[in-house]
Structure formats: structure tokens, C-alpha cells
Symmetry: C2
Subunit: 330 residues, 2 copies
């Protein structure tokens, strides 16, 4: 493997001149540059990025760490991040947090391989993030709180979103509303449930225990909990699913039992994932500004990188009700 030394030798210049020429710097005679470039080509020279990084102590790279690269959230988020990263001339790499303690993310968080990192991953331990956080290494945490002076937080107003969802259902005339919960341990789930309750309380609505069921944040989870709901006999007139994936599983379960949405039961989801537009009926849901989240996150990283310090460390984004066809007026 040819190094810059070999190139310099073949072009009969010093290593530094070779470096300058190779990196497109102006301060070289065109003739010399050409000679160096030709030598590089002849030797099939490839710069060693690690060596350059080591020397320059910045990598011009950002990392995005997510739990699941194939998740419905990821694709829209990344667009937001990517658009601004690219516009700043930075590279973006993404990796998944699955694989536990000593896997990929560790190296990016702990080994100074990127200039900053954006995290949307709950499997990553607090401890590790805390350990990585330090002056001059911006970390933006999405949908996750951490008590550290060195991290920046972006969250979505889950409570308000859930409140709006239920409020909408009530405005449509629904009075018996069930909550199908996601993972009980999830903060998102808690906030959404709080919003649900707040709206119910405000309108003096009861919610029998049997209509408060919990599953996991997946299509399957939604499917099974809905089956249970159906088996219990009497259905509520509307159901609030803690996320779209669950709602989609729910639609499936209803359809199998010949129960019509929204004629027999109205349902509303949360997230507004791409799929929710395509289900039958199209899913009414609470839109999360995923793109904005990504782009804000990247912006904040760059602001931090340019030395700005933040009085504000928590940014809250608003949700939006998206009316489609899964809720009816009663």
C-alpha cells in the first residue's frame, strides 16, 4: 500500500509538498501538482484517513445512532439530519445501537471518531452517554432526558399530542374511549397516557380498567391487545393507540373479526408513520415532526461545534393532528 512518502519520492518532491498538492491547496506550482497527482495515480495511492484525523483532530463527521435502522421513524429523521449535515460539508454515518455494550456506537461515542453525535436510542445506557459527554463533544439526545450539562435535548410534546387526540375524539362525540398502551416502561408511553387522562378528566369521562390495556409498541402488540379487547365483549366507541404500529395491528385484528373501522369503532394512532397513509381506512393520527427533529438536532450540533454555549438545553417540538379516515362522528 503506497503512502504519501512513496508518492513524494516518485514525484521528486518533499512529503509536505505532496500533501499540499494532494489536498488541493493553492500554494503549489501547477506543474508540481500535476507531477504529484500523476505519481499518486501511478502508485494507486490512497490517503489513510485515520492518520489525517489523528493529525487534524477533527473528523468532519457526525454520527447518528438509532435503535433500529429499519424502524419507521428512522427514515424521516435521517432526512432532516442529512440535509443539514450535507449542507455544512460534513459526513454523516449512521449506526444501530443493538448489539449491547461494546458495539459500534461505543466507538463513536467514546473514541473520538466523529465530531458530534445524535442519539435516538433507548437501548444505549445512560451511563455510557454520561461517560461520553464532555465539553466540546456535542451530543444531542432525542426523546430522552439526561442530567448532564454537556448534552442537548429535543423532545416532542407527547402529552399535549395525546391530549389533542383524545380531545378530537371527544369533539366527534365519543364518550367511551380506550387507551391501548405501549411498553409500560417507556417515557413516551407515560406522557401519552398522561395526556389521555388529562383530556378524559377534563370532560369528566371514565375509563374502565378493562379498556386500559398494555402491549408493546409493535404491530403485533397492537394486534394481540385488540384481540383481547374484542374478547372482553363490549367495545368502546373509540380507541387511542399509543402509536401507529399498534393501531395498524389493531385494524388488522378488527378486520379479521368483521368489525368495521370507523363504522363500528373509531381509532386514532400516534406518530404518523409513512404506512399510516396506506392502511384501510387511512389512519387518523398525531403527527410527530420527525424531519424537523433531525434537522434541528443537526443544527444544534453545528452551533455547539462553533463554540456556542446553550442556556437552553431542552427543545420541545409540537405535534399536529392529522385527520384521515379512521374516526367517525357519532
Amino acid at each position: 500500500m503506497a503512502t504519501i512518502k512513496d508518492v513524494a519520492k516518485l514525484a521528486s518532491v518533499s512529503v509536505s509538498t505532496a500533501s499540499i498538492a494532494l489536498n488541493g491547496n493553492k500554494n503549489v506550482k501547477t506543474e508540481t501538482r500535476v507531477r504529484v497527482l500523476e505519481a499518486a495515480k501511478k502508485l494507486n495511492y490512497r490517503k489513510n484517513g485515520s492518520a489525517a484525523d489523528l493529525k487534524k483532530s477533527q473528523t468532519k463527521t457526525l454520527a447518528l445512532i438509532v435503535d433500529d435502522l429499519s424502524g419507521p421513524f428512522f427514515s424521516e429523521l435521517i432526512k432532516g439530519v442529512q440535509d443539514v449535515t450535507l449542507s455544512k460539508g460534513y459526513d454523516l454515518i449512521t449506526c444501530s445501537a443493538i448489539g449491547g455494550e461494546n458495539s459500534t456506537p461505543t466507538r463513536f461515542l467514546l473514541e473520538k471518531r466523529t465530531d458530534g453525535v445524535i442519539i435516538l436510542a433507548h437501548t444505549l445506557k445512560n451511563e455510557m452517554i454520561l461517560h461520553a459527554s464532555m465539553e466540546g463533544f456535542p451530543i444531542v439526545l432525542l426523546d430522552r432526558q439526561l442530567d448532564s450539562r454537556h448534552t442537548i435535548h429535543i423532545q416532542v410534546d407527547n402529552e399535549q399530542g395525546a391530549y389533542n387526540a383524545v380531545h378530537y375524539l371527544i369533539s366527534l362525540g365519543h364518550r367511551s374511549i380506550a387507551y391501548v398502551s405501549g411498553n409500560a416502561t417507556s417515557t413516551d408511553n407515560h406522557c401519552r397516557y398522561r395526556g389521555f387522562q388529562k383530556a378524559m378528566d377534563e370532560f369528566g369521562l371514565e375509563q374502565p380498567d378493562k379498556w386500559n390495556i398494555s402491549g408493546s409498541f409493535t404491530e403485533e402488540g397492537g394486534y394481540h391487545t385488540t384481540k383481547m379487547l374484542i374478547m372482553q365483549g363490549q367495545l368502546p366507541s373509540a380507541i387511542f393507540y399509543a402509536n401507529d404500529e399498534m393501531a395498524i395491528g389493531g385494524i388488522q385484528a378488527f378486520s379479521e373479526k368483521g368489525i368495521k373501522v370507523p363504522e363500528d369503532v373509531s381509532i386514532i394512532g400516534f406518530d404518523d408513520i409513512l404506512l399510516s397513509r396506506y392502511t384501510t381506512p387511512a389512519l387518523t393520527t398525531i403527527h410527530q415532526p420527525k424531519y424537523e427533529m433531525g434537522s434541528l438536532a443537526a443544527h444544534l450540533i453545528f452551533r455547539a461545534l462553533s463554540g456556542e454555549s446553550f442556556e437552553q438545553q431542552l427543545y420541545t417540538l409540537e405535534t399536529r393532528l392529522v385527520k384521515r379516515s379512521s374516526c367517525r362522528q357519532v
Copy 2:
């Protein structure tokens, strides 16, 4: 930022001993190791990955380069890659090829930052890949041919898949079948069209020019070409869309005009993206083994990395017909 030197000093050992202790090597007295680890903790020491890579000349990292991280293809592919990468104790990072010549992928291809790379990206220039390819740096190209001794190729049998699709349509009794083409420049598109033609020829079926329309491989492309098809008056009894996204756009266009699928027109797609299960009607399509593709790609990388040389440089994967509800018997 504390370096290993600082740690060594604080622990009153030499740098080499510190390195050994820090990397969990056996040859240190437990007492010494503890002292080093404590010093590291106190100084909040973080290893500089670039320096380590520079020295070790392997990164234990693979890169996956795709055109679009948010594309429907990506998520299934990555699972396949990730599963085997993880099992080998390697890291996987992904990046998008958008951004042109001197963007992220360049650095991974050309700057020795990873031990190997898997590419599913058509925006990356041949020239660049060729330039990167060399002994000892395995590159696996998906759905793309290149004339280089140093690259390994995996492709899906697009022609056979398309042939099967059309054959199925014909077996259902369809005789007038249109082909809605993707980007004319795409090899995939060519192969699929060849398969289409082969089947048509075999059964002595004509295809009027007006039923051979081309768009782009997107939902929008499918939508617009379908609109055009409709405007031309007489419809074929079945349509083969060059991919699922286009077919989904087509369904949309038909639905807007009150034309029923599959009652009025049967449609079939290609790819079997996740979404195709959820459209109304659910889309009949040709399944591409995306997961298998990813996992095979990763396997081949590791085999190459372990010094194996390949007589075979082209692997062809078979497709599979997935019958859902968008085609009817005539």
C-alpha cells in the same frame, strides 16, 4: 483531553503498560491494571480511535453504502448485513451515497477507514469504485456489474422474475398486458423488460407501443404514467409495473378515476417492499430476497477478509412470486 500518556503518568507506569492494561491484555499484574483503570477514570480518558487504527491497520468495521437510507429497500437489506456483521464482532456503519463525488462514501471507499464495503448505490460512479478496488480490500456490489478482479457481485435474477410475473398474468387469462417501465437507464429496468418481452413473445402476445410507457422508479412516476395510460382511452387488462413503488402510485391513480383494481385492471409489481402488503388491494408482486442479499454480502466480505480468493465472482439470487389481491382471473 487526556491521552494515554497522562494516564500512564498518573498511574506511574509506562505508556506501554498503560496500553496493555487498558486493552484488557492478560500480561499485567492485577494491581497495576486497577491502578491504570482508576487513573483513566479519574482523567476521563477516552482512547483516540484514529490513532489506534493507524497503528493497527485494521478497523474491524464494515461500511454499507446505499443511495437512500430511507428507501424501502434499505431496511430489509441492512438486517441481513447487520446480523452477520454483529456475529463476527465487527462494527457496521452505513452511509448514503447522495452528495456526489467528494462526500461520505468516498472516505470509506478510498481512505481505508473500514475493512470492507458493501455497495447498493447507483449514483456512485464506476470510476470511483474501480479506483477503490484492490487486493485485500473486499468490495461487494449489489445489483451492479463492474469489470474488476477485485470486486464481488451479487445480483437478483430480474429477468426471470419479470418473466414469472408475466407468465402468471398470462396463466390468469390476461392477454393485453402493459409494461410500465422505470428509469430507462437502469439495468434493473432493462432486465425486467427483457423478461417481460420474453414471456410475451413466448405466448405470441403483442404489446402496442402505447402500452409501453416509462417513468421513474417512484410512486409519483407510477402515478403519472398511469394517468397517461388512462387518458389514452382503452386500458390493458393487466399491467406490470417495474417496481412496487410505481405500482402503488398506479393504484392511487386508478382509484382517483374510479377504476377498480383488480376488477377492471390487474396489476403486479416487483420488489415486495413492506408497503405492498398494506395497499388496497394488497399488491401481488415479485419478491426480492433482500435480507438474503445482505447476509450473503456480509458473508462474502468475511470470507474475502480471511484470505479466501474467489473463483466465482457473481452470485445470482432467485426471486419469488407473491400472490396477493391485485390480480384477477379473467
